[in-house]
């Protein structure tokens, strides 16, 4: 059985699907990716589907599941490179991919992940600050 390679680039895992996946290959990718997220501690996953000429409900569901698994492992997922004809077909099929972030290409996907991470860290810093901000009049 073929396997989809997962590349680590800085703090991001990049998956570029270049083959017409059998269902089993898609399920294997789901497991491999979960393992790699935990092993590397990466906080971002980019899945490039620019080589896919169709996304059917099975692949769509797999992408949604991957995004869900990544989330609970503290990583954000962005699906990039969807072809226009695939987007049209997916919507007509009835699959709107809720919960999946998308970007037009890998570069924009990396920007999106960097921005989100930055905001997350900002919020983390703001959290305690905000708690201290309310001015309580001294008794």
């Amino acid at each position: 059985m073929e396997r989809v390679p997962i590349l680590k680039i800085g703090a991001i895992l990049l998956v570029s699907i270049q083959i017409d996946m059998e269902d089993q290959v898609a399920l294997q990718l789901q497991e491999d990716l979960a393992d790699r997220i935990v092993a590397t501690g990466c906080h971002g996953v980019i899945i490039d589907i620019s080589a896919l000429d169709i996304v059917d409900s099975f692949v769509g569901r797999t992408l949604a599941t991957i995004a869900g698994i990544s989330k609970v492992l503290d990583a954000d997922t962005v699906v990039v490179g969807m072809r226009p004809a695939v987007a049209i077909t997916l919507v007509e099929l009835g699959l709107s991919l809720p919960g999946i972030r998308t970007a037009l290409n890998v570069e924009l996907g990396m920007d999106l992940l960097a921005r989100e991470r930055f905001q997350d860290e900002d919020e983390d810093e703001d959290g305690p600050d905000n708690a201290e901000t309310p001015v309580v009049p001294a008794p």
């Binding site: 996946m21 059998e22 169709i54 409900s57 077909t89």
Partner: protein, 134 residues
């Protein structure tokens, strides 16, 4: 003049991939538009998977067709599985008897121009779809 239909036996995941590839090849040959090719291959993928998962395997036949005015692709999916007892329910978006999303049958019907289904409980299912060139 129609080419003879090409048949693929569907017994594994790999056969579903072969169905997609054959449908793509023929759709390109009759010059379906890119969006229509994508819709047809996606519908074929859904229905071939149904043949495998719900029908317990079967066969798929793909052929070029011609109604005198337009060319198109006709695909037949056939299995000897349990059949579908309640068609209205099976065509409801989101309904699934398996573990899927419940979009295969209803979604595939939206992606093609003609959709015909012959089924009965215990007698298998045969679905014929056609997509015409615009």
């Amino acid at each position: 003049m129609n080419e003879p239909a090409q048949r693929i036996e569907v017994a594994s995941d790999q056969d579903v991939v072969r169905v997609r590839q054959l449908v793509r090849t023929l759709a390109v040959a009759v010059k379906l538009s890119l969006v229509d090719q994508t819709k047809l291959v996606t519908a074929a993928s859904e229905l071939a998977r149904n043949t495998l998962v719900y029908g317990g395997g079967g066969w798929v036949e793909v052929a070029q067709t011609d109604n005198g005015r337009r060319k198109g692709i006709r695909i037949v999916f056939s299995d000897q599985g349990p059949g579908i007892a309640d068609l209205d329910l099976a065509f409801t978006d989101g309904y699934t008897s398996g573990g899927g999303l419940g979009l295969g049958l209803s979604g595939a019907r939206r992606l093609v121009d003609e959709f015909d289904i012959v089924t009965a409980a215990g007698e298998g299912t045969t679905i014929t779809v056609t997509k015409w060139c615009r």
